[in-house]
């Protein structure tokens, strides 16, 4: 990461970003620095190639999916606003904030976090995690040495467990129900992104 810190005024649309994502100015500045550090050619945009250059992501089973989540459908470049929008999902949830009607759902709410996670499962964006999609994720996560039969088994079992309306796929509501106990707000929060 670069040693110099950007001045807040150098960041385009700082106020809108802070409003939209809920980040503090310090966090936005920090993420902007990171954005610029990743953007090696100083294009002002990040390409997939830039993100793939992060070593640890390459060994992450979900690395590619995570990278793809930063880019819109069909596009190959992302600007800082979109970059930080994705990261906004991982801001810790503030306690005690009541859900005022009329205000848009904050980006780091439980619902949004779940939607983000769901979207990583559901690659074809049909609103359901089919058996194949589950299988793909499992295949990513468990590596080579497990046989397909076992994986198919597990995938089917997973879907059975979660599937309440019997359509053989997991819808978003079913997904949300099955992770109820997992304390998603805590799991999907990074402390540094205040």
């Amino acid at each position: 990461m670069g040693c110099q810190s950007s001045h807040p005024s150098a960041i385009p649309e700082l106020d809108e970003i802070m409003l939209e994502t809920g980040f503090s100015q310090a966090s936005v500045v920090r993420l902007y620095d990171r954005f610029q550090a990743l953007d090696k050619e100083q294009k002002g945009y990040l390409s997939k190639y830039d993100l793939q250059g992060i070593g640890e992501l390459a060994v992450n089973p979900l690395g590619d999916r995570i990278i793809n989540a930063f880019f819109k459908e069909g596009e190959d470049l992302t600007d800082f606003r979109s970059f930080i929008r994705v990261l906004a999902h991982f801001r810790p949830v503030e306690e005690g904030k009541s859900n005022e009607t009329g205000r848009p759902e904050p980006m780091n709410s439980r619902l949004r976090k779940l939607q983000f996670a769901f979207q990583l499962y559901d690659q074809d964006s049909d609103g359901k995690i089919s058996r194949d999609e589950m299988l793909q994720v499992l295949r990513l996560m468990v590596g080579i040495q497990v046989t397909d039969e076992q994986l198919v088994c597990i995938a089917e079992r997973t879907i059975q467990e979660a599937d309440q309306d019997g359509d053989g796929a997991i819808s978003f509501e079913e997904f949300a129900t099955s992770v109820e106990k997992l304390n998603v707000e805590q799991r999907m929060s990074l402390r540094l992104l205040k």
Binding site: L57, D148, I154, R157, I159, E161, V184, E185, L190
Partner: protein, 815 residues
């Protein structure tokens, strides 16, 4: 000889009204002798006082733990009025019946005490009404009080809980049980919080209390003026430590949510290091006239040495234990013993060097567990679990009973001012400490601690037997007010255990604190947890932040790459956690199905294709499955039949050799091919299956027949030294049929070895149902028609070439 005559009277058959009275008086007669058994006859304990604390026991026993047991034993030999030979000048008749109590005294007394403890436990559960209001620990203390009172009433002096017995024998099982089954995930997630509570909280308590008590002592008129600052600080450090035994005993029954449980319990475990250091420190300083800065710095250093040293010792022993367990596949019966012995050795070794034995014990349990569990058999695992629970349960019971007895037995010095102020300041210190620390900690926590949580944490700070034993170890020369200290300690213990222990449950209900979730994790949760872990690690990497996930991921990678290879036997080191979890669940279900002998819910037809390989019962019976309609018998058979063919086909065409480079696509194509062929064979199979179906009278038996038909893939080679699971599908007899390692079958495989195959992990073989209801679990599959009927269960399939995971593209090429 008084003791002895008392005993004799109790033993001779008196005309007593009821048997229970005989038992009681026999008990009482024995008990006075317990206190004399320590130093004289047990060389181990005499020669190795706990080095943890300065050996002040030997010279300074108070009168009631008599230092003259030898005298007693000498008196015993010439029995006053029984048949043992006296000074026989004249020849007497050969003694047909004689009593030689000395011979068995020690084991006898110990067994008697333990028996008493167990009977008490039994009694409480037989009378449920009392135990729902009063926690067990309170009842046990009351029992101890009664027994102590009885003994005293008889005229004997009741035994006191000796510190070395406590620290060497009674405490380790409890701590090992706690450490081995520590919920590691929650523990590490909250480690920062726990450490702050344990270290800073205990320090705060000790100094606050010690300082205030010193101030109280300075008040003229209380008669306490001679108690110095150091003595008070020592007292503060003894009484300030939250006791794991008491916390466990009380929290276990209230089923509080895991976060609070792990916070209070973790604190009680980790504060041992602080307590040790402070205790030593102040005890040493009490000898000096003045305390220099150097001493303070050294004390500070010693804290790190004690705690980290203890952990280090524990880790070493844990690693050795894990490594040993790698080779125990041939001698399964002593596997549990390794776990216990290594852990105990870790404890003793740490005590040897004045390090924190508790932390050593916990560290060794935590470190050895994942590897040992991967290596040992299922039965050994069960054995370890039950033995640990049994020992810790008995230990706990004994501790509380002895606490009660010691209260009656000890010499007390009651000073109203001191004791009442101790009590009050203890509570205040705890509350203030928790509040202050939580305010500080909440700045760093994602999930903040609510005031309700804080209240429970403060309220759950129970004191227990450790404080008592530590106080007991003080010697009279330097601490003349020891009796008063002991009385104060006991008062605080009683107060916390009784008052707080009894009221915590209604308070928990009143405050509607979240309770523990009773249901186990589903496979969904397991998968999603891992998924989220990976996701968060990725996001952390994108942010360039080396956070919690990053280090955890690194540790996992290190673990997988190097450590597991060393410490886990054979191919099981490659098994990913998810699969292990899945297998565990399937195994559990299989056992449940066998035990219930009944048909559970039937999954939809598509899903049982591969189920057959792994679970010959092929019927997930979990209640957690969404509601599926119960099929009738015929439909069941039809479904199973359909699924059966597919897998049978697989048996013929599947070949592991084809799984190269791109397993996903290959296997996918193969599966399609298989399905195609399966449809063709449907008729043939139908005919085969309907025939025997008529003979069978129950769905269980028909399932047994069907379920055991050839399934899964080509059986792999038996390299001869692999453990084999033999499964008796759906036999209603017993879970033993789902027997894990069966070494006897190793050599009996009649499969052609396939040399290219890597060696297998566990393989599973289904018993050949040559006739319905065969009980012989151990018959190797002898080849019934249409083909060899065997199920191979591969717990880990390394594939033809075990390639390093890192270099692999993780996305399958074909989508």
């Amino acid at each position: 000889g008084e003791d002895w005559s008392g005993l004799v009277v109790a033993l001779s058959p008196p005309p007593l009204p009821s048997r229970s009275l005989v038992l009681c008086s026999a008990l009482l007669g024995m008990l006075p002798l317990l206190h004399s058994h320590g130093l004289q006859s047990d060389p181990v304990m005499a020669s190795e006082p706990p080095h943890h604390y300065p050996a002040v026991i030997s010279g300074n026993e108070p009168g009631d733990i008599t230092a003259a047991p030898l005298g007693v034993s000498q008196e015993i030999s010439p029995l006053p009025n029984h048949s043992s030979p006296g000074h026989a000048k004249n020849r007497k008749a050969f003694p047909v019946l004689g009593i030689d109590y000395t011979h068995v005294r020690i084991p006898f007394e110990i067994s008697l005490w333990i028996l008493l403890a167990c009977l008490m436990k039994l009694g409480f559960h037989v009378i449920p009404s009392v135990s729902s209001i009063v926690p067990e620990s309170c009842l046990l203390i009351v029992v101890g009080l009664l027994v102590g009172g009885l003994i005293k009433g008889v005229g004997e002096s009741p035994p006191i809980l000796r510190s070395d017995i406590f620290f060497l024998f009674l405490l380790p099982p409890i701590i090992l049980d706690a450490g081995y089954f520590l919920p590691l995930r929650q523990f590490t997630e909250n480690l920062g919080t726990i450490l702050i509570f344990a270290v800073v909280g205990t320090l705060w308590n000790a100094f606050f209390l010690g300082g205030l008590m010193y101030a109280v002592c300075q008040i003229s008129g209380t008669g306490l003026n001679d108690i110095g600052l150091l003595a008070n600080l020592l007292f503060g450090s003894i009484i300030s430590a939250v006791d794991p035994v008491a916390v466990l005993a009380v929290f276990e029954e209230i089923h509080i949510n895991e976060l609070l449980h792990i916070l209070v319990f973790g604190e009680s475990l980790l504060n041992d290091a602080v307590t040790v250091v402070l205790y030593h420190l102040f005890e040493e300083f009490a000898n000096f006239e003045q305390v220099t800065v150097t001493d303070i710095i050294l004390g500070f250093l010693s804290f790190f040495v004690v705690s980290l040293g203890g952990v280090f010792v524990g880790v070493i022993y844990g690693v050795i234990a894990a490594f040993t367990s790698r080779f125990t596949s041939h001698i399964r019966v002593i596997e549990p013993l390794f776990v216990f012995l290594y852990s105990y050795m870790a404890y003793l070794s740490a005590e040897l060097f004045h390090l924190s034995g508790i932390m050593a014990l916990i560290a060794s349990g935590v470190v050895m567990r994942p590897y040992v569990e991967a290596n040992i058999s299922h039965k050994s695992h069960t054995t370890i679990k039950y033995f640990l629970k049994m020992w810790s349960s008995v230990s706990e019971t004994l501790i509380f009973i002895f606490l009660g007895v010691s209260t009656v037995a000890g010499r007390h010095y009651w000073n109203w001012t001191f004791i009442i102020s101790t009590l009050i300041f203890c509570l205040i210190a705890r509350v203030l400490g928790v509040l202050g620390l939580t305010w500080f900690i909440n700045k760093f926590r994602i999930v903040k601690l609510t005031p309700k949580d804080q209240f429970i944490i403060a309220y759950g700070g129970l004191r227990g037997a450790i404080a008592f034993s530590l106080g007991y170890l003080l010697d009279y020369e330097h601490f003349g007010m020891r009796d008063m200290f002991l009385t104060a300690i006991i008062t605080v213990i009683f107060f916390t255990v009784f008052v707080q222990g009894m009221t915590i449950r209604p308070l928990v209900d009143l405050l509607a604190v979240k309770k523990k979730q009773e249901t186990k994790r589903s496979i969904n949760e397991e998968i999603h947890t891992q998924f989220l872990d990976h996701l968060l690690t990725g996001i952390e990497d994108i942010c360039g932040h080396y956070g919690h996930h990053h280090w955890k991921d690194k540790l996992n990678r290190f673990n997988k790459k190097y450590v597991k290879k060393c410490l886990i036997a054979g191919e099981r080191s490659k098994e990913p956690q998810l699969i292990a979890f899945y297998h565990k669940m399937e195994m559990k279900q299989a056992i449940e199905l066998v035990e219930s002998g009944g048909l559970g819910k039937i999954p939809s037809a598509i899903s049982t294709v591969s189920m057959q390989n792994i679970n010959p019962k092929a019927l997930p019976v979990k209640r957690i499955l969404p509601a599926l309609s119960k099929d009738k018998e015929e439909e069941i058979r039809k479904i199973l039949r359909n699924n059966l063919q597919k897998t049978r086909q697989r048996l013929r065409s599947y070949n592991r050799h084809t799984l190269v480079a791109d397993p996903y696509e290959e296997a996918w194509n193969q599966m399609l091919l298989r399905r195609q062929k399966a449809r063709q064979l449907e008729q043939k199979i139908n005919n085969y299956l309907t025939v025997p179906a008529h003979k069978l009278d129950s769905p269980t038996m028909s399932r047994a027949r069907i379920g055991s038909d050839p399934l899964a893939y080509e059986p792999k080679s038996d390299s001869g030294n692999l453990p084999i699971i033999t499964v008796d599908p759906a036999s209603p007899q017993s879970p033993e049929s789902v027997d894990l390692v069966n070494e006897e079958l190793k050599g009996t495989s009649c499969l052609p070895p396939s040399p290219e195959e890597d060696e297998e992990g566990l393989v599973m073989r289904v018993k050949d149902p040559s006739s319905p209801g065969t009980d012989d679990v151990f018959t190797p599959g002898a080849g019934d028609s249409p083909s060899n009927q065997r199920i191979m269960r591969c717990l880990s399939d390394p594939g033809p070439q075990p390639e390093p995971e890192e270099g692999e593209p993780f996305i399958p090429k074909g989508k």
